[in-house]
């Protein structure tokens, strides 16, 4: 099975079996801590929480490649920019006329840590949680059906949108529309390409709305689910505990900042 625009990697793991909201809570917890706690804490979060979880979920390899692919270029440019343009503080090294400031590097390092922790926590969430399972869990807690539906369909419809756009381009080129050439040419080519996309999408939306109704989308009464989202008391307690800890951390942080 393929889920477009989703990182989901099916595995036989304890992490996968957890309730989606538990994993969402974990991701949120890590992100919040990374934002609120000082400097090196993010790296500790990454090493002590994210990495073990990723290993438990058997998605460590995927996590590292996804996180690094995004974070690495960003990290390098941040190090360079902050290192070179930081105004104050001691100089770490000098290469000819260019000086690298220590505080700049430190700032970059701590920012990179935050990004890494937040990014990897949500990547981990995506890797171990099916988007429809997450949507179902949220719907069971009160998220309107329509919103869950829109999020899920958007994942699937975008690739189709792209292929429809290509079909339209083909059709208009076959009618003599030049799509190569100067800027003015390309601007003039926009209308015959964009308008059919919009109009036929409107037709599609109407027909899909009919299909939804035909599938009893607005049927009164409780919906059941093919998914068996097993929630357990331990997990629920765990989630509430995470919330409590998060609150404590935030309060303590505010207090320590105040007094500093």
């Amino acid at each position: 099975m393929t889920i477009p625009f989703s990182l989901y990697a099916p595995r036989e793991s304890g992490l996968h079996k957890l309730h989606p909201l538990t994993k969402l809570a974990l991701a949120g917890f890590v992100a919040l801590c990374a934002l609120v706690l000082p400097r090196a804490a993010s790296y500790l979060l990454f090493l002590l929480l994210i990495v073990p979880l990723a290993l438990w979920g058997r998605v460590f390899g995927r996590l590292m490649s996804a996180a690094l692919r995004v974070a690495l270029p960003f990290a390098i440019s941040l190090l360079i920019i902050q290192g070179l343009f930081w105004q104050t503080g001691p100089i770490l090294a000098r290469v000819g006329p260019i000086s690298i400031k220590l505080d700049g590097i430190l700032f970059a390092v701590s920012t990179i840590g935050r990004i890494l922790a937040i990014l990897s926590s949500f990547v981990l969430l995506s890797l171990t949680t099916r988007p429809d399972a997450l949507m179902l869990a949220l719907s069971q807690r009160g998220l309107p059906d329509v919103i869950a539906y829109i999020i899920l369909t958007t994942l699937q419809i975008i690739p189709r949108f792209q292929s429809k756009a290509q079909t339209i381009i083909d059709a208009q080129r076959s009618r003599g529309l030049e799509t190569e050439g100067g800027l003015l040419h390309r601007i003039r080519a926009l209308l015959p390409l964009v308008v059919p996309l919009v109009l036929s999408s409107i037709v599609d939306i109407e027909e899909r709305a009919i299909a939804l109704e035909a599938r009893a989308f607005s049927h009164p009464g409780t919906k059941t689910s093919l998914f068996d989202l097993s929630d357990s008391l331990p997990e629920r307690i765990f989630r509430w505990s995470l919330l409590a800890i998060a609150l404590i951390i935030v309060v303590v942080r505010i207090l320590t900042l105040r007094s500093a």
């Binding site: 339209i168 080129r173 076959s174 009618r175 003599g176 529309l177 030049e178 209308l191 059919p196």
Partner: protein, 273 residues
């Protein structure tokens, strides 16, 4: 009027890895009317898209007259080959029927007079002249199909490709399309159609190409090809109604239309009495 088409050992593999064409060759003379039949996935549409340059062969050549399609843009080839697509909603963008039909001719550089005459002629052929100032989306789907057909006809190209022209049409609509086909043949256009409607193909197209699995498995006069039960069965295609009837009744010659059938019936009963 028509142009020739040469398909030389064309093979084509989609970026996804699907080998849609496995080496097809055919030569179509100016003014011929050819129907390409076969089940979905046989390669009919892929082949047709090579004829106006939307696809370039992975190996082999397609020549439209003296032009190698891989050396010209689709827009350039549109001066020689027009293509009527299946889904009208994939191309309609103007606010009036008139403007929609004028789009092609304008791109091809028609003069104002030529455009006017092409548009009027095309719309009257499809029976939408009275709707000329209406918004295309005021028309039903089957009428929008006729609209895009008119947009193709107005381009007045030597070669015309029709992709499933009779889908979703009622009997008068099919009749109208039949008239358009006959009109194009009379004006010596080279005509290619992809169709599942074998009765329609039998009645209006002298030559039939049968495709299966990315190959051409039969290519010849309609009377010969459409009578080959086993070939059509291999392509998962149902023979025309008259063919089935004639074969079931043990006819020697295979008619393609009700009129031919009755003629053959007369001859048969003439001989036996």
């Amino acid at each position: 009027m028509g142009e020739s088409i040469r398909i030389e050992q064309v093979a084509f593999t989609y970026p996804t890895g699907i080998r849609a064409l496995r080496g097809v060759s055919a030569s179509i003379s100016p003014g011929e009317a050819v129907a390409i039949v076969g089940e979905n996935g046989a390669g009919k549409t892929t082949l047709a898209r090579h004829l106006n340059g939307l696809l370039h062969p992975t190996s082999g050549h397609v020549l439209i007259g003296d032009w190698d399609t891989s050396k010209h843009t689709v827009a350039q080839l549109a001066t020689r080959v027009s293509y009527s697509f299946q889904n009208p909603d994939d191309q309609i963008f103007e606010r009036t029927v008139r403007a929609e039909v004028t789009f092609g001719p304008r791109n091809l550089g028609f003069s104002a007079d030529e455009m006017e005459s092409a548009v009027q002629d095309a719309l009257s052929q499809v029976g939408l002249l009275s709707e000329i100032d209406h918004h295309p989306y005021d028309l039903q789907l089957s009428q929008r199909k006729l609209l895009t057909l008119a947009a193709t006809l107005a381009m007045r190209t030597p070669i015309v490709i029709l992709d499933e022209p009779t889908t979703g049409q009622d009997a008068p609509g099919v009749r109208r399309i039949a008239e358009i086909v006959e009109h194009l043949k009379a004006a010596s256009h080279t005509l290619i159609t992809i169709t599942h409607d074998l009765d329609f193909a039998a009645e209006h197209f002298e030559r039939v190409i049968v495709m299966a699995g990315g190959l051409i498995i039969a290519d010849g006069p309609a009377h010969d090809v459409l009578a080959q039960e086993s070939t059509l069965a291999a392509a998962l295609v149902d023979p025309p109604q008259m063919v089935r009837l004639a074969l079931a009744l043990g006819f020697d010659s295979i008619p393609l239309t009700p009129e031919e059938f009755v003629l053959a019936l007369k001859n048969k009963s003439g001989r036996s009495s």
